[in-house]
């Protein structure tokens, strides 16, 4: 049985992952900003859990934009779960390049949430996990971080930066018992991607969640979900800049 804190576990991929954890009897703490939303998601998880009460999920208030909430939220989660061995971050901000060019506030939010604040949070989580003798830190990156592309310049840059950070943690802390897991989703149908033109291999959150849980269990440093995106990105990474300047995607 794991004791897992999830940032972003009330929505999209995080919701699907939290459901799998609860279904197999792991203990889950949902970390987020909106207490009503947290309570509703905790109730959903509790109603789906097979043995009611035994593994009721808990919640703690955390705002990725407010650094001072990080330590208190993690401490609160650890207190309620009696410790913490896994921390998962599925929250993030998205905007297409067109949208971000038109909106300075959204631009700043994507840059700060996905890069600065996520890394600051991971640093707090990492120290706690290391102090407890190790654990797993899983963060959602994106295939957009693998190769610069015209529609997702800024968003892709934040995810590329985050990937570097996660790879660095993997190198630095694996021997100390901290396993860094970077998940790179392709196109997943969530509120974040609603309205975007759908590429091939689009998937639903519940389709990709099992592979993410498996990667967390095994401590895989990096996975693509759906797995086909590893191949797709291999090709796209090898396309010359002259081609990337011409294609629309």
């Amino acid at each position: 049985m794991k004791r897992i804190a999830i940032v972003g576990g009330t929505k999209g991929i995080g919701r699907a992952v939290a459901r799998l954890f609860v279904a197999r009897g792991d203990r889950v703490a949902l970390l987020g900003r909106d207490t009503g939303d947290l309570a509703a998601s905790a109730a959903d998880l509790a109603a789906r859990a097979t043995s009611a009460g035994a593994s009721a999920p808990v919640t703690a208030v955390l705002d990725l934009e407010r650094t001072e909430t990080f330590a208190t939220a993690l401490d609160e989660a650890a207190r309620q779960l009696g410790g913490l061995d896994t921390v998962v971050v599925t929250a993030g901000a998205f905007g297409t390049q067109d949208a971000l060019e038109a909106d300075a506030a959204a631009r700043a939010r994507v840059l700060s949430t996905n890069f600065t604040q996520t890394i600051l949070f991971c640093e707090v989580a990492r120290t706690r996990l290391l102090a407890a003798g190790g654990g797993t830190l899983c963060v959602l990156g994106s295939v957009a971080g693998d190769r610069a592309r015209k529609p997702v310049v800024i968003y892709g840059a934040t995810k590329a930066g985050l990937a570097y950070y996660m790879h660095g943690i993997d190198l630095r802390d694996r021997d100390a018992g901290l396993r860094a897991v970077l998940v790179k989703p392709g196109f997943v149908r969530t509120g974040m991607t609603a309205g975007l033109p759908e590429p091939p291999f689009a998937a639903n959150p519940e389709d990709v969640a099992p592979a993410i849980v498996r990667a967390i269990d095994r401590g895989t440093p990096q996975i693509y979900v759906p797995a086909i995106w590893r191949l797709v990105m291999l090709v796209i990474r090898w396309l010359p800049g002259a081609v990337m300047r011409r294609v629309k995607f």
Binding site: A43, G191, A194
Partner: protein, 437 residues
């Protein structure tokens, strides 16, 4: 582009998705679940209309393990309900032939299933709804509170408001397995007689007919089912089958009546000429096609339609034969024909089922031809006092629909009360209910 399960019509438009339905439905003109209605029921009236997709709003709000009453957000699918609660001894009270239907969609279509003769429609098991009306208010409706709004919403094709959450009573089952029987029957008369006979003792019944082979006599198979007792099932744990995606749209030339004849022969050969008894998986019994995702591509790029109507018992079998002859005479091949008897009418103002025999026929869409077939069949059905199922429909004309269903005026009056400016509309309501586009 958006389309229903039949992939015809396909209209410009896009669907907004969010976990937060209460916010998403503000200013929306239509909600859409998993898009499993076949025709235009889930399609916007205009390309710029705000369509709120509910499928991310799939949280269970509460489940009472004593009464089996489930309260959940409208986007929760029957598939998810069954996978979560069947291992604990509960199943959806009524289910259509696919589990890829949301609770909101099940209410809006007031879906029916193999147990209509014993359990009625889905709406009979709904205890309460919460919806955002076209005027923008959030209202609770139940058989006791705002009963008129509740009745109009059950089977109201999503036109009375945006459903936010639903209370439905699940059904207790003795085991997660189905005790089933299949029986080969040589002609249509016997098929319907056996179906009605089976309904007297079996909670789940259905007939499948081969309209193409054996000189069109209407030979087929009757399916009977009930939940297996725990000792019959032998305590086998239930695992769900793997799902595979149908790879590509089948080219049009491959969809020949000739090919379908062989498909039907194969089905009949499998069931032989006798009664077969087995303990089967609920997925096999209720949702034989659900493990094959996107099977609608099997009907090719031009899409397909499913014609489903109900004929009162007094209409007689001659009308059935005439329907199949009409379709064949106009060059349509009735590919898959499913027959079911309906019990009493439910309380939904516009709910489809009424006492009689319903049948549904899958047909690939062919330019010009399909419209003529549906028109001709609708002439017959209207004359016999039958009506069509809006959830499947894409081709019925407003004149035919009004002739079949005089309840429309009462339904529209109810809509106006909660939506005076007529904000909630769909492509279907424009086509059939007199809404402006």
């Amino acid at each position: 582009m958006l389309s229903g399960w039949g992939r015809w019509p396909m209209v410009p438009g896009r669907e907004l998705l969010s976990e937060d339905l209460a916010s998403l439905t503000v200013g929306a003109s239509l909600t859409r679940g998993l898009g499993r209605s076949y025709g235009d029921a889930s399609l916007p009236s205009t390309p710029d209309a705000r369509v709120a997709g509910t499928r991310l709003a799939d949280r269970v709000i509460a489940f009472d393990a004593e009464t089996g009453i489930l309260r959940a957000e409208a986007g929760l699918s029957l598939r998810d309900v069954n996978r979560t609660y069947l291992p604990r001894g509960w199943f959806v009270p009524v289910t259509p032939g696919t589990s890829f239907v949301t609770l909101g969609g099940a209410v809006a279509s007031d879906v029916h299933g193999k147990n209509h003769h014993s359990a009625g429609t889905f709406g009979r098991h709904v205890r309460r709804l919460r919806l955002r009306t076209g005027a923008g208010d959030i209202v609770e409706a139940s058989p006791e509170v705002e009963p008129d709004l509740f009745d109009a919403t059950v089977g109201g094709m999503g036109l009375t408001g945006h459903m936010l959450d639903v209370d439905v009573a699940l059904r207790r089952v003795p085991s997660p397995w189905i005790a089933s029987e299949t029986e080969y029957v040589p002609d249509l008369e016997a098929l319907i007689a056996r179906l009605l006979e089976a309904g007297k003792t079996w909670p789940y019944t259905l007939a499948w007919m081969d309209a193409l082979g054996a000189g069109g006599r209407g030979r087929g198979v009757v399916y009977r089912g009930r939940w297996a007792e725990a000792e019959e099932a032998g305590g086998r744990p239930l695992t769900w089958p793997r799902e595979v995606v149908f790879p590509m749209a089948v080219p049009y030339w491959a969809l020949s009546p000739f090919g379908m004849r062989w498909f039907n022969e194969l089905v009949l050969w499998r069931y032989g000429r006798r009664v077969t008894r087995a303990i089967v998986h609920p997925q096999t019994f209720f949702y034989p096609l659900d493990s094959l995702l996107e099977w609608n591509k099997a009907y090719g790029r031009r899409g397909f339609t499913q014609y489903q109507c109900v004929l009162p018992h007094r209409a007689g079998l001659a009308v059935f034969r005439k329907v199949f002859q009409t379709i064949a005479a106009r060059g349509g091949a009735p590919y898959v024909v499913v027959i079911k008897d309906f019990g009493a009418e439910g309380r939904g103002t516009l709910s489809f089922p009424c006492p009689g025999i319903t049948f549904s026929i899958d047909m690939p869409v062919a330019e010009g031809k399909t419209q003529a077939i549906v028109d001709a069949v609708n002439d017959l059905v209207a004359a016999e006092g039958g009506r069509v199922y809006l959830t499947k429909d894409a081709f019925t004309r407003a004149e035919h629909y009004r002739a079949m269903d005089p309840r429309v005026d009462r339904f529209n009056a109810m809509r106006r009360r909660w939506d005076p400016e007529g904000r909630i509309r769909s492509a279907l309501s424009v086509r059939l209910l007199g809404d402006a586009a």
